[in-house]
C-alpha cells in the first residue's frame, strides 16, 4: 500500500514538473538576465522544501526525546538527508546563476551563504550519526544536535544579512522589480511538485531506515544466541 502511495506521489510530481516545464519555457525572457532566469523555478522551491524539512526534523527530534519512539528518529534522519540533497540543488543552481550573471562561481549573496552554512550544519548531523554505533545513544545525541542546529538557523540568516550590509555584494533578486504574475503561478506549481517529490523521497528513505533497524535487531538477537 505504502509502495503505491510513494509511486503515486513520484508520478504526480513528475507529471507536474514536465507540464510546468512547458509553461516555464514559453515565458518571455527577463529583461536583464536573458534565459537563465528560469533557474529560479527550481532554485527557490528547493530551498523552501529544505527549510520545511528542517522544521520537520526539529519536531521529529523533540518528539523522539519525549517519547523514545524510534519512528521519530528514522523520520528525522530521512527528512534531514533528503533536505541536504535539496539544499545542494539550491546551492548548485545559485552557483550556476552567479556564473552566468556575474561571471563568478560564488558571490557571497546572503541567502546563498546562509544556505551553505545550514548545509554544513546538517551535514554535521549525519557525520555525528555515523560516529555513534549504539542506536539509542545515536538517536538521542542526534536529536540534541538537531535542536541546536535548528535554533542556529535563524540566527545564521540574520547575522549573514547584517554582515552583508558591511561588505555589500551583488544580490540576486533584489526586490526592486515586482514579480510578474505568470512567474508567480509557475513558481507555485513547481513548489507543489517539489514538495511532493521531497515527501516521496523522505518516505523511501524512512522505509529504508526502518528496514535497517530491523536488520540490526535481528543481527544482535542472532549474536546473543
Amino acid at each position: 500500500m505504502r509502495q503505491k502511495v510513494i509511486i503515486g506521489m513520484l508520478a504526480l510530481a513528475a507529471i507536474i514538473f514536465v507540464r510546468n516545464l512547458y509553461a516555464i519555457s514559453v515565458l518571455p525572457d527577463e529583461v536583464n538576465q536573458g534565459q537563465i532566469f528560469r533557474i529560479i523555478f527550481f532554485h527557490v522551491p528547493a530551498a523552501a522544501a529544505a527549510m520545511t524539512g528542517s522544521a520537520v526534523a526539529l519536531i521529529a527530534s523533540v518528539l523522539f526525546l519525549a517519547k523514545k519512539d524510534f519512528f521519530y528518529d528514522s523520520l528525522a534522519v530521512a527528512v534531514t538527508e533528503v533536505g541536504l540533497a535539496f539544499l545542494a540543488v539550491n546551492l548548485v543552481t545559485g552557483s550556476i546563476w552567479a556564473r552566468v550573471i556575474w561571471g563568478v562561481w560564488w558571490a557571497w549573496d546572503p541567502r546563498l551563504t546562509s544556505a551553505l552554512i545550514c548545509w554544513i550544519l546538517y551535514a554535521g548531523y549525519l557525520i555525528l550519526r555515523q560516529a555513534l554505533e549504539e542506536p539509542t545513544q545515536r538517536a538521542t545525541f542526534a536529536a540534541v544536535y538537531s535542536i541546536f542546529a535548528f535554533t542556529d538557523v535563524p540566527i545564521v540568516y540574520f547575522s549573514i544579512r547584517w554582515w552583508r550590509t558591511i561588505h555589500p555584494q551583488p544580490v540576486f533578486f533584489s526586490k526592486n522589480g515586482s514579480f510578474p504574475p505568470d512567474w508567480g503561478r509557475a513558481l507555485g506549481v513547481n513548489m507543489l511538485a517539489m514538495f511532493l517529490f521531497y515527501a516521496a523521497l523522505t518516505m523511501i528513505r524512512l522505509r529504508q531506515e526502518q528496514t535497517q533497524r530491523e536488520i540490526d535487531y535481528l543481527r544482535r538477537t542472532a549474536h546473543a544466541i
Partner: protein, 226 residues
C-alpha cells in the same frame, strides 16, 4: 542554595585538577602562540591591513586554542569512571553543565589574555585603546564558545575521533557569533568605539549567549543520562 554550592564545587574541582596537571592549559597556550606565529608569516605584520584582519585572526586563535580546553573538560572524567561518581550524586545536569562551563570559561579566558599581548607584540599593534569594550566582546564571545563547547564535550566524550568531532560540530554552530565577535574585535583593536550600526553585533552576542546557554541548561541532562 544547594545548586550554587554544587556548581562551585565542580568548578573548583576542575580548576584545582587542571592547576595540578596543567595538561590542557599548557597545550592551549603553546597552540595559541604557535598559531599567532604562523599567521604572522602569512600576513606581513607591519602592514596597516593587519589591523583590519586582527578580528578574524584573534578569534581563529581563540577558538582553536579554546577547543583544546573544551575537549579536556569531560575527557578528564573518563579515567576511573569519575563521570559515574558525578552522575550518582544528587547533582542535576544543569548544575554539572554550569560548573564545568565556568571552569572552562576561566581557563579559556586565561589563554586569551595571554594571547592578546603576544598578538600586540608580534604584529606591532596597540590593542588597548578600547580596552574595556574589548574585554566585554572577548568575554561575551568566549562564553558562547564555552556554553556550546561544554555540552558538546559531554556529547562527544565517548565517540571515537573525539578531538576532531568536537570542533567539527561546534564551529559551524558558532559562525553567527564569530561574525559579530570578529567584526567588533577588529573595530576595537583599531581603536574605534562600538557605535551606530555596529551595536547590532553586540546585541547578537548577548542574544546568542542567552539562547544557547538556556538550551544547554535544558538539554544537558538528556546528554548525560539519556
Amino acid at each position: 542554595m544547594r545548586f550554587l554550592q554544587q556548581v562551585t564545587v565542580i568548578t573548583t574541582k576542575d580548576l584545582r585538577a587542571e592547576m595540578r596537571t596543567k595538561e590542557a592549559i599548557n597545550a592551549s597556550f603553546a597552540f595559541a602562540i604557535v598559531i599567532l606565529l604562523i599567521l604572522s608569516f602569512a600576513f606581513d605584520p607591519t602592514e596597516e591591513t593587519t589591523r583590519e584582519i586582527s578580528g578574524g585572526l584573534l578569534w581563529i586563535v581563540f577558538t582553536f586554542a579554546g577547543t583544546l580546553v573544551l575537549n579536556r573538560s569531560f575527557a578528564r572524567e573518563l579515567p576511573n569512571d569519575c563521570l559515574d561518581g558525578l552522575l550518582a550524586a544528587p547533582v542535576p545536569g544543569s548544575a554539572l553543565f554550569l560548573g564545568k562551563a565556568l571552569a572552562n570559561y576561566v581557563l579559556i579566558l586565561a589563554v586569551e589574555l595571554v594571547a592578546l599581548p603576544v598578538f600586540g607584540i608580534f604584529y606591532n599593534v596597540r590593542w588597548t585603546r578600547q580596552f574595556w569594550p574589548l574585554m566585554l566582546v572577548v568575554g561575551l564571545g568566549t562564553w558562547g564558545l564555552t556554553a556550546i563547547g561544554t555540552v558538546f564535550s559531554a556529547l562527544t566524550v565517548n565517540i571515537r575521533l573525539r578531538e576532531v568531532m568536537l570542533p567539527m560540530l561546534v564551529y559551524p554552530l558558532m559562525i553567527p557569533m564569530l561574525l559579530g565577535a570578529m567584526r567588533l574585535t577588529a573595530l576595537l583593536v583599531a581603536g574605534q568605539p562600538i557605535a551606530g550600526d555596529d551595536t547590532v553585533w553586540l546585541r547578537l552576542l548577548f542574544g546568542f549567549d542567552i539562547i544557547f546557554t538556556a538550551l544547554a541548561l535544558v538539554l544537558m541532562e538528556t546528554v548525560l543520562r539519556g
